[in-house]
Amino acid sequence: MSLTKEQIAQRIAKELKDGYYVNLGIGIPTLVANYIPKGMNVVLQSENGLLGMGPFPYEGEEDADLINAGKQTITTVPGSAFFDSAMSFGMIRAGKVDLTVLGAMEVSEQGDIANWKIPGKMVKGMGGAMDLVASAKNIIVAMMHTNPKGESKLLPACTLPLTGTKCIKKIVTEIAVLDVTGNGFKLLERAPGVSVEEIVSKTAGKLTVEGEIPEMQF
């Protein structure tokens, strides 16, 4: 059975480690914050200038001066710090952020990612995505395995304009967890009840399946 978006986030949360500084993109990645294990100290970076992002504010406590990179009202946690956009991307560029989670339209078997532009459609801009993928040492993509037309989003090569090249290390979709290796995608885990055959059929890029593929544990 395919994972829900919440379950994808929950699975990604298992990659967190104590002391990690993490940047979560808009969409499914944002949900990862809800599954940080109790007692684990994970600090969320918001690239508009905050370390130590907390949950949404209670009704009536929204502060227009306190938003995240998705322009949502948020709160801070004890030990937070504000800074300007140059310092924010400086820490991203210098590899100080331990884990970056973002969405994608396509990922290639080389680890290239496309997630900012669809030819013929209004271009909204790349925001901070190109900076993140160009510098982060540890990037997990959270996305659906196929697009709304049912076509695989894990491709031999991206067809859409690239956001970055050879940068994605791991992908979590509603049916699988995969690494991106020097030799294409490698299947690590499958969603409970989802067959290896289904994953193979929905993966257009080169996919390695070695031995027994375990079901994801939550």
Binding site: D65, L66, K71, M122
Partner: protein, 232 residues
């Protein structure tokens, strides 16, 4: 040395057609609301605006777009604005999309007298087209040039009449960088105080960068995405 202006109208009075402006803010957070309103009223056209975003249809830079005052936007993300899309598709508006971190660094470079820096964002993408690349320690980078502007227009929380500024929370964003990079820097603040009232250890933008300052009025501080959790 009198940097204090009465209001936004006075502070932007000499901004002319064709000026290059920097406008602080991220989304609608920390934007110079008073100056934007004054620019809409005064009406200079053919402006180049360097700003991370382009506002929404009826607020922020969107108000200037609606009046067709903007010739070119230099931004990282412009997705919240239907009028923007219309003008772009019709060819009335140019847009230069720049990765957010590179945009920040190019503005900071302009404000720090650094003509160019190397950054990795966009290598291997269309952003790299036509740009000089160089490899340092096995990694490829793009040569990116500094930005400056005829006028940098920023919004701060508190300021003093010497031009020292303190920003609040994430309303800081691009504001301190742009303050450094303006040939003329105009700051609007929520609270204007006398020199000595701000702790010099806590000043984010030293007064040397600020040429004009005034206390703004009627801040709306519109929230773009009001997200809350239920009261327990």
């Amino acid at each position: 040395m009198n940097k204090t202006y009465k209001n936004a109208e006075e502070a932007v009075a000499d901004i002319k057609d064709g000026s290059v402006l920097m406008l602080g803010g991220f989304g609608l957070c920390g934007i110079p609301e008073n100056c934007i309103a004054a620019l809409v009223k005064k009406g200079p056209r053919q402006l180049t605006c360097i700003s991370n975003n382009a506002g929404v249809d009826d607020f922020g830079i969107g108000l200037m777009l609606k009046q067709k005052q903007v010739k070119k936007m230099i931004s990282s993300y412009v997705g919240e604005n239907a009028e923007f899309e219309r003008q772009l598709l019709s060819g009335e508006l140019e847009v230069d999309l720049i990765p957010q971190g590179t945009l920040a660094e190019r503005i900071r470079a302009g404000g720090a007298g650094i003509p160019a820096v190397f950054t990795p964002a966009g290598v291997g993408t269309e952003v790299a087209e036509g740009k000089e690349t160089r490899v340092f320690k096995d990694k490829e980078y793009l040569l990116e040039y500094a930005f400056d502007a005829d006028f940098a227009i920023v919004k701060a929380w508190k300021g003093d009449t010497d031009g020292n500024l303190i920003y609040k929370e994430t309303a800081r964003n691009f504001n301190p960088l742009m303050a450094m990079a303006g040939k003329v820097t105009i700051a609007e603040v929520e609270e204007l105080v006398a020199p000595g009232e701000l702790d010099p250890n806590q000043v984010h933008t030293p007064g040397i960068y600020v040429h004009r300052i005034f206390q703004g009025v009627n801040y709306e501080k519109r929230i773009e995405q009001r997200t809350v959790r239920k009261n327990v």
